[in-house]
Symmetry: C2
Subunit: 212 residues, 2 copies
């Protein structure tokens, strides 16, 4: 039920790059691919193993269970996103936070597999019994928390109007991003992902920049 929070997290940062644990990397990629196609519930460790070119029990030698495999995939991807957003040493604040979300979206537009995986796991993880439930809950809380802080910071700077509805802007912007990614994954032709996000952010700036 509960989800080992930082399961294998050091395995990635250290071990993975150290002695070239090739099969582990391959397995993680295979798992990500499979989950992104059919979701966690419908992926089978046999299929993942086959994609990775090993047997089912060979896979279970590296990851003790199906849930542990999911945990490893999620932590790896979140680390990657986090590096992109906050890796520059300074956490973007004020309108810059919104700009970096646009940048993240542009990056996601080149990684449909990860977007698909996130859309599926975020929805599945809605159920309290899902092995990723805690991960998903934490993910959204921390995104909203970061973005509200960023807006508050902008207000303190005078960059953002004091009348700005902080929580609504944070939750709403994240919602728009995710909802749009879902539409995009379902029907890429019909939805200009980055452009639509950009229009939203520009609208917010026009609305909530003081004296404009």
């Amino acid at each position: 039920m509960s989800f080992p929070a930082n399961y294998l997290i050091e395995a990635q940062t250290d071990k993975l790059k150290r002695d070239g644990d090739l099969t582990r990397i391959t397995a993680l990629q295979a798992a990500a691919a499979q989950i992104s196609e059919v979701g966690f519930h419908k992926t089978t460790i046999s299929n993942v193993a086959a994609r990775a070119g090993i047997s089912q029990s060979g896979l279970l030698h590296h990851f003790p269970s199906k849930s542990a495999l999911l945990a490893a995939v999620l932590d790896q991807r979140e680390q990657d996103d986090s590096d992109f957003l906050f890796g520059e040493g300074v956490t973007p604040m004020g309108w810059a936070a919104f700009d970096s979300l646009v940048a993240l979206t542009a990056r996601n537009a080149t990684r449909p597999e990860w977007v698909r995986l996130f859309v599926l796991v975020a929805a599945e993880g809605t159920a309290p019994s899902h092995p990723a439930h805690d991960w998903v809950t934490r993910h959204y809380r921390s995104m909203r928390s970061w973005l509200t802080d960023a807006i508050r910071d902008g207000v303190a700077n005078g960059e953002i109007s004091e009348a700005a509805p902080i929580d609504a802007l944070a939750a709403g912007t994240i919602a728009l991003l995710d909802g749009l990614q879902q539409q995009w994954v379902l029907d890429p032709q019909s939805v200009p992902l980055v452009q639509t996000v950009r229009v939203h952010v520009e609208g917010l700036k026009r609305l909530w920049t003081p004296g404009s």
Copy 2:
């Protein structure tokens, strides 16, 4: 694979209310409840049957397969939503379309089960092999189509600025609604659903109403 488009649709409008097909109604409610809790992949017809107070094969007598059961649930709920949005005889256009989306959201806030079901099925249905894939694709296309038409109509009326980025407003607003519902389902305390949608729509009006 493909999804019988209007499967059993007349069964609902006519038959359901006619001779009191109680078990069918009960089964549909049980299925909706189960799917909303764990998604379609993880619901089992045995569980649905148990909730409905009949045996598994008793359930399969009314719905030939698990997919057909899902189809019936989706059609029933969509009909319900559609009646709410368009049932007044006139299809809302211009800013009124956005207002009716706010009203729909307010209604959804009282129906967490349906919201949960939608969030789950919309994400699962992202996969082309999912039995609801066609339904979900059609749903989003028709929502976007209705809303872009509504905006275009508002522009023609002079109610909405000619500079309004029509497609981005339509896709973005729908995305914000759905993304927000997902956050709300995951963590109701943290997300004021209706209020956040209202703020978004008010922002759009301020931005894109001519001469304001």
